[in-house]
């Protein structure tokens, strides 16, 4: 065997050397003269150190960020370094000014994913040209087409569908990359002007924070991350914040050094539990029992704050013992309002109406525990008792021993937790979306909220209950609603009048904003075209066949009183919940905009089997190939976050609007999703004119005009596809959320601190100030300024007087055993956000896979693995009644026996054929989540009040599998 040498080449050179070079002198080694005997110049080389110095140079640097849904972790200001026309690295800007001398600053904010987007954007998953499917859907064969050809085909199909079947057959699947800025302006506008449907995905993805909605009337409220530094006790309850909130994590470890205690309540000894002072290894899905046990002890030990309870909660409200409904003015007086509630006033020893324009009690001293008799307007007398009295009965059984049995912990731990909470001055929990992904998670959140309300640990520095962190920009909503340029600056007269009238009548701004966002879920409710916001969960259930997975299985210990189908019909019939298009009206076109439903949706195989065959076109706009592009008819290439200027909603945890600047031109033919949607509108208008199509009547009685679509979309050419940045500037300046800072200054600096909470559909719930030199305290307006809550009772509400809650005995919080979701199998499959990806966005990045594991894995406890003969790295099959998938086994002592875990984000294409991690998720609807109705705070509006999809606590069996292909 000849090694490492090309003989033919050798001979040629050798012969040449010997024949042609008879010079009898050589050049000196390594130096001048720079010619050798063979005539090859020696390249100038200045030494190895300079190679490294050279490596750390650049041509240009701009501020940037990643416009993806990192949620709690969002957003971080980065410097994006460009060399030779390519982004070659990024490093945190790390210039956040200190808030005050006491609080740790926010620097350097960033994470491993953000630190390698420069790698990701050029990796082999990147899409650079429009692709059209060749052959069958999912056949993995593509041809390159022009934007014009793709848009023409899509526009013609759209016009066919809108004219022949209905305007609402066109669906926008808006993924977590919804920026609530530029791309939202584009798709909300085209939705409004065409009455195509936007799927609201927040509850569908399992971030609905149902229990927060039930208790506080909203989900969006959160304090700043530095506020933890003021806490004395931080509860990692149902979350893993040191894993899922990388840039915020230092506030926890630093608060600990400041003296705060940390208690972790989690089944597994996770990355956050290791930093705690106390770890309570409760079983999955038992938080409600633990919280009610704690609440019981707090009351018993006198560790509650009665004044807070009287003022801020419905616990003092009276409930009729005969009907189990709240006692209202309508019970007592002719013409009385059903929205005026009563308490027993200890000062006057009489039943008195509770104030409703404010939380201030004045002279009232409502009783906590009380039973009374009141005379109704018909003269009859009924017994009434306070919610508090009822709560005492409810939690009586939750003794430490009983709770210990449910939670799988020693009773002493329940007592210890209660003592720690009861004795701490300032307590905060951490935001988490675990409960939203549990079938009875709402009950757990309500029970936890009870602990915080009883102890008054809400609305003060270092103290608070965390909801859903979101902080956006009200300016984008003007692009949803405006019919003309003037309305971009001020509300349309119809809406302005509604606001004025409602607020004059005593409603809060927050309540009216919530109502307005509820209107956007009712197409045709106002006589002009607004975007159509529809429940994603119901869409997938009804139109994509997800309900087929769960409807038949009444035996999963869900305690259903009626079939889910019956519940859904009731909710749709009573207009509690929207489903657009209506059942039976098949969707025909779906756009996934930076959205990956074939990865995300629990039970996603049904989308392939049921939804895709209904679609004439499935169009995916993304910058990379993913689970969904694999099934697309068209893949339209979207520019990345370093190739366009943009910003996105953030969170109060880090209250800085963060802006990304175009560092380099978009690769290939990619365009921003904003530009793509405007070009589509232009093409639709062009094709409509060519085909003589103009006004089309919508199923909801409105008229849309396709022949003027682009004209109206752009406000007669003022905001065109080229004006993405102009849209941003408008959004930035609208509402003056950033004090004196100009758009140009903000763009250059890359971040700017909010000066107040935006009054938009998704942020208004925060109800607090943003101090320049201090932390943000969620819900402070309610607690300190006595502004009513947007609940039915206008208080933190524990008594949910809605028929569905009565039907399921969930009027008051309680523990319910988790349903055996997926069938009667011994293991509980739980999950969590990954360290290695934001959803799926980095999940198949080679760099991320190289740094951890290249294949999906399921974590199994040591005992469960041994019992099944499973070893580390074995391929295992995870199965239940619904389906199965294969993954590698990761055997770990951190896992509680009986618990297994698969982290979020793996793509379908990571799994061996035959199923992915969603294949075992039946995701049954919990009927109480279908609640709605006039006067109720339990109803759908933006990002909340819609049904959820659940993937935690799925029952599975795991066994050794054949080696995967």
């Amino acid at each position: 065997m000849s090694t490492n040498f090309d003989r033919r080449n050798f001979l040629k050179i050798s012969a040449g050397a010997s024949a042609g070079l008879a010079m009898h002198s050589f050049a000196a080694a390594g130096g001048a003269p720079a010619r050798t005997l063979l005539g090859k110049p020696v390249p100038a080389y200045t030494g190895w150190k300079d190679v490294y110095r050279q490596q750390w140079t650049w041509d240009k640097v701009v501020r940037g960020t990643h416009i993806t849904n990192c949620w709690y972790q969002a957003h971080c200001a980065w410097d994006v370094y460009v060399k030779d026309g390519l982004v070659f690295r990024e490093e945190q800007a790390a210039e956040y000014e200190k808030v005050n001398d006491e609080l740790p600053d926010y620097n350097p904010r960033g994470c491993n994913k953000g630190g390698c987007f420069s790698e990701r954007m050029y990796d082999p998953t990147r899409v650079t040209h429009p692709l059209k499917r060749v052959g069958e859907r999912g056949g993995n064969k593509w041809e390159r087409v022009s934007w014009d050809a793709a848009l023409t085909d899509i526009a013609d199909t759209w016009l066919d569908v809108a004219t022949k079947e209905g305007t609402d057959r066109v669906i926008w699947d808006i993924g977590p990359a919804d920026d609530y800025a530029q791309n939202t302006a584009a798709f909300a506008r085209i939705s409004g002007l065409t009455q195509s449907v936007l799927l609201d995905m927040n509850t569908e993805i399992g971030d609905g924070h149902r229990g927060a909605l039930e208790t506080f009337g909203k989900i969006s409220f959160e304090s700043s991350a530095d506020d933890y530094f003021y806490s004395d006790l931080i509860l990692f309850w149902a979350g893993n914040p040191l894993y899922t909130q990388i840039p915020n994590a230092h506030f926890f470890t630093e608060a600990k050094y400041r003296g705060a205690k940390i208690i972790s309540i989690a089944p597994d000894y996770n990355a956050s539990a290791i930093k705690a002072d106390l770890w309570i290894p409760a079983k999955p899905g038992t938080d409600a029992a633990l919280a009610l046990g704690v609440a019981r002890l707090l009351i018993k030990d006198g560790k509650i704050k009665p004044d807070f309870i009287r003022e801020q909660t419905d616990l003092v409200f009276l409930v009729r013992n005969d009907t189990q409904h709240f006692l209202t003015e309508a019970d007592l007086k002719d013409g009385g309002k059903a929205t005026v509630f009563y308490a027993y006033d200890e000062a006057t020893r009489s039943v008195q109406p509770m104030p409703w324009k404010t939380l201030t009690l004045g002279e009232l001293r409502p009783a906590l525990e009380h039973t009374a008799h009141v005379r109704l307007k018909d003269g009859s007398e009924v017994a009434v008792s306070t919610v508090y009295s009822r709560m005492l009965l409810r939690i009586e059984d939750y003794t430490p021993e009983h709770v210990g049995r449910i939670c799988g912990i020693e009773p002493w731990m329940v007592k210890r937790l209660a003592a720690e909470i009861g004795n701490a001055k300032r307590v905060r929990n951490t935001t988490q979306s675990t409960h939203s992904k549990l079938y009875h998670g709402n009950l757990a959140t309500r029970a936890m909220a009870l602990v915080f309300a009883l102890t008054g640990q809400i609305g003060h520095k270092g103290a608070g209950f965390s909801g859903f962190p979101m902080l956006a920009n009200e300016g984008v909503e003007s692009f949803m609603i405006a019919r003309n340029l003037k309305e971009l600056d001020e509300h349309p007269p119809e809406i302005a009048a509604m606001f004025a009238q409602r607020m004059a009548a005593g409603d809060t701004l927050e309540q009216v904003i919530n109502d307005m966002s509820n209107i956007l879920m009712q197409p045709g409710a106002l006589p002009f075209a607004l975007p159509v916001n529809a429940s994603g969960t119901l869409f997938w259930h009804i139109h994509a066949g997800i309900s087929e997975l769960s409807d038949h299985a009444a035996d999963w210990n869900r305690g259903l009183k009626r079939s889910v189908k019956d519940h859904v019909s009731e909710a749709l019939g009573k207009k509690w919940q929207p489903c657009v298009p209506k059942p039976g009206d098949d969707p025909r076109i779906m756009f996934s905009v930076m959205s990956n439903p074939l990865r995300r949706i629990r039970g996603n195989q049904k989308i392939v089997e049921v939804l895709l065959p209904k679609l004439a076109k499935y169009v995916v706009l993304d910058f990379r190939m993913n689970s969904s592009t694999r099934f697309a008819d068209y893949v339209l290439p979207v520019s990345t976050w370093y190739e366009r200027t943009n910003f996105k909603w953030v969170t109060p945890l880090s209250p800085y609007l963060t802006i990304t600047n175009a560092a380099t031109p978009a690769l290939g033919e990619s365009k921003s999703d904003f530009e793509a949607i405007f070009l589509l509108a232009k093409k639709i208008e062009e094709r409509a004119r060519a085909r003589g199509i103009a006004v089309v009547r919508t199923p909801h009685g409105l008229e849309v005009n396709f022949s003027t679509l682009y004209q109206r979309m752009t406000f007669d050419g003022t905001y065109t596809e080229k004006d993405g940045e102009k849209v941003l500037k408008h959004i930035f300046e609208h509402g003056k959320l950033f004090g004196d800072v100009t758009w140009e200054q903000a763009k250059e600096k890359g971040f700017v601190r909010y000066t107040r909470i935006s009054n938009d559909f998704v942020s208004a719930g925060n109800q607090t100030d943003i101090p320049k030199n201090d932390s943000i305290v969620a819900l402070a307006n309610h607690v300190q300024k006595k502004v009513p809550y947007p609940t039915t009772t206008r208080r933190i509400q524990f008594y949910l007087d809605h028929p569905l809650y009565h039907e399921y005995d969930e009027v008051l919080p309680r523990h319910k055993d988790a349903p055996t979701m997926g069938g009667n199998y011994p293991l509980l499959l739980s999950g969590g956000k990954a360290r290695w990806s934001i959803h799926s966005t980095w999940r198949d990045s080679r760099l991320m896979m190289r740094m951890h594991r290249p294949e999906p894995y399921v974590v199994i406890s040591v005992g469960d693995a041994a019992a099944r003969g499973i070893k580390e790295m074995d391929w295992v099959s995870i199965r239940n009644d619904i389906g199965s998938f294969k993954a590698r086994a990761a055997v770990s002592p951190t896992m509680q026996p009986g618990q297994t875990m698969i982290y979020n984000g793996w793509e379908r294409h990571h799994f061996p054929k035959g199923g992915d991690m969603n294949s075992v998720s039946p995701s049954p609807i919990n009927p109480v989540e279908l609640a709605g109705g006039a006067g109720q705070h339990l109803r759908p509006f933006f990002i909340q009040g819609q049904g959820s999809m659940f993937d935690r606590e799925t029952r599975v069996e795991i066994e050794l599998a054949e080696r995967a292909a």
Binding site: M1, S2, T3, N4, F5, R7, F10, L11, I13, S14, A15, A17, S18, A19, L21, A22, M23, H24, S25, F26, A27, A28, A29, G30, T36, L37, L38, K40
Partner: protein
């Protein structure tokens, strides 16, 4: 050893006669452990045999323009693939110094060293003492290597002539030549090698 003059080296390489069976068997021994340049090398090789290449079979020819040296040897089965097989011959630039010292400041040696593996090729090296070797002059050095199981055959060529830092070679003169070989499969590299102990005469036919 004798270096026969041939008409064209390339013809020899293509299968022509080398030195007509006039090969030289060069006896090799392991470099002395105490002379290894670092404590670590001494310590880590104290219990481990090296210098496994005991004999090199050497042939040399020239055609008036270039020199070709064929080196052949055999190694025991490899225990690692981390290090390449390597072989080298050294020629004095001016005066000779003890071969084991790898040259001296006033008596540098000019080495042509071939190695296999990922960085296969032949390198011109100028050495002025142990651990001091540096880039040597370009003398048109080339190599042709063949491995057959545990047997290696490597031909190294260079042009004749002289120049700064280069060992001069001229037809019809005699110079010195020394050898070193590394059994990479035994993790031999750097001073862990076998060598020819002393210089041999290299007689270039006129």
């Amino acid at each position: 050893m004798k270096c026969k003059r041939v008409s064209r080296i390339d013809l020899v390489l293509e299968g022509g006669q080398w030195s007509g069976g006039d090969s030289t068997q060069v006896e090799m021994i392991a470099t002395p452990l105490p002379m290894q340049p670092t404590g670590y090398v001494i310590k880590s090789w104290a219990e481990k045999p090296y210098g496994t290449i005991k004999t090199l079979t050497v042939d040399a020819v020239h055609d008036g323009h270039a020199l070709a040296v064929r080196l052949q040897w055999e190694v025991p089965p490899a225990t690692t693939t981390d290090f390449p097989p390597a072989v080298a011959f050294a020629l004095p630039v001016k005066a000779t110094s003890p071969l084991v010292l790898m040259g001296m400041a006033e008596a540098p040696m000019h080495i042509l060293r071939w190695q296999g593996g990922a960085q296969a090729g032949v390198r011109s090296v100028l050495a002025k003492g142990i651990g001091s070797s540096n880039h040597g002059p370009d003398v048109g050095q080339k190599a042709l290597a063949r491995q057959d199981g545990n047997r290696f055959s490597v031909v190294i060529t260079r042009v004749l002539g002289s120049g700064a830092g280069a060992a001069p070679l001229k037809a019809g003169t005699t110079t010195k030549i020394g050898f070193a070989a590394w059994d990479g499969g035994n993790e031999e590299r750097a001073g862990i090698k076998s060598f020819s102990v002393d210089w041999l005469d290299l007689v270039l036919a006129a």
